[in-house]
Amino acid sequence: MAAEGRTFHQINYALGQGIQNMVRSPFMSLIVISTMMIALSTLGFLLLLLSDLNHVSEELSTQLKIVVFLEDQQDINKLASDVEAIPGVKPPVKKITREEAFESMTREQPELKELLKDNPFPASLEVAVNSTADMAKVGTEIRQKPGVEEVQFNPELAEQLQQVQNGVQLVGSIIAGILILATLAIVVNTIQLAVHQRHKEIEIMRLVGAPQWFIRLPFLLEGLIFGIFSSILASLLLVLWRLVPYSQLQRWFAFLPLPDSLMPLVSIGALLLGTGVLMGLLGSTVSVHRYLKLEYK
């Protein structure tokens, strides 16, 4: 029991040391945190951009619609729900009755109204798909439904859009991968330099008889705190970007369906936190190890 009490006391002390070290070397803490923050926010910024691009191209692809013309006297509601049931279709399917079609056509060209006695326009459905890749498949399936007069869509355009999407994703993943590696290396390097500054201290602690875990623990805690601080700061930077310059962009590119929600920031923030903490811990473990593994002569 006494031994346990001691250990608890010691752990407490060692953790306190971590905080103390940070506070007493503000310059070093500042540099490490700012470097980590910069690396993480660059990473986060890129991930956010990719997520936005993805959103845009997805939005664009749902603007590509399959138009389904119905045979006369068909129940538009029933067909609509049939179509909605097809996998890959993004509900709701938009229904345009014969009357609505007449309305909209004559509104565009009022002179038609006089020329036409009868309503020549068929009822139709506008079907959006979840992914442009499914368009051809969905189109063919709809064509086989009873009561469908004609199906119109542009498979080449869909395919091209799909290719652009794939390209963006590929390039994005390459950049993200490289950036993740770069961030990792930079953070570990920075922490190594920071720990190197203290190698004399580590040496003295060893000479005075401090056990390895006792020396290591404060550094681990520091790494953890560095990770938490820097990732939170990086996330705040992203929120700031989203709130100010980004909304300017949205105004300029009004024709692009740029996403509005702050949702992706939550998951990116979580990712940054995870990465930051992991890198902080990893960095300090690796670096302290350098000085602890030295032979006890």
């Binding site: 250990t7 007493r24 070397s25 201290e201 060893r206 008889g209 401090a210 056990p211 006890y296």
Partner: protein
């Protein structure tokens, strides 16, 4: 008991700092280590707490051949060995009090007990008024006394002091030396390297004289002058 058996130490740059040392130092005894600059005093002391490893021979401390200690056991050896380093080796980021406390924290001594003991040694070494200062704010002699305080605060069974009065005036030196000698009387094995021959003459304790890495004299009730 401390025992050297045929110990030699050659540094990586081929300096032969110690040559074939054989020595027995009984537990609870007080021993001076003297000799010209570069004769191997610090090296001998460094071997005892494993800052350096001997190139040849066996070194027995507290019934263990410390040349074969495992990674895990080295910190334990050092916890049982108080060392006053020739260059003090204070933690620059910690105050005087915290530097001394560190030696107790690694042993898990309770805060209450710590306060009592630290207060005690800082009074003994006459630096209690400096307890909140950092090493860079102290004079040379004050730093040296912090190093002494840290070495003795956990009452180690072995106490090694490398030139512990080099930066102290004669009166303070005498106080510190008396302190070390008193600690020797409580069962601690004390080894003190020094250049202060008037001190050695006055203390009349066993004195081992090194020259060129060899023991050239070992006088039971030593006086410097006998050795030279």
């Amino acid at each position: 008991m401390i025992r050297f058996v045929n110990v030699s130490k050659q540094y990586s740059n081929h300096t032969r700092a110690l040559q074939n040392i054989n020595l027995e130092i009984p537990a609870g005894s007080f021993t001076f280590l003297v000799g010209p600059s570069g004769s191997g005093k610090s090296t001998l002391i460094k071997l005892l707490y494993r800052e350096e490893l001997a190139t040849e021979g066996e070194i027995w401390v507290l019934d263990k051949n410390i040349e074969n200690l495992s990674k895990h056991d080295v910190p334990i050896l050092r916890q049982q060995t108080g060392v006053v380093f020739q260059d003090f080796k204070l933690l620059t980021q910690k105050s005087v009090w915290e530097n001394v406390a560190f030696a107790l924290e690694i042993l898990g001594v309770s805060k209450q007990e710590q306060t009592k003991r630290i207060q005690g040694v800082l009074e003994l070494t006459n630096i209690l008024h400096l307890k909140d200062f950092y090493p860079r704010q102290l004079s040379g002699g004050e730093q040296q006394r912090v190093s002494v305080a840290r070495a003795i605060v956990n009452k180690p069974p072995v106490l090694l002091a490398d030139e512990p009065t080099g930066n102290l005036d004669p009166n303070t030196s005498w106080e510190i030396m008396k302190l070390l000698s008193k600690i020797g009387k409580t069962g601690t094995t004390v080894i003190v390297s020094t250049h202060n021959y008037s001190m050695v003459d006055r203390m009349k304790r066993r004195t081992i004289k090194l020259e060129g890495g060899k023991i050239v004299a070992d006088i039971p009730e030593g006086a410097w002058t006998h050795g030279s």
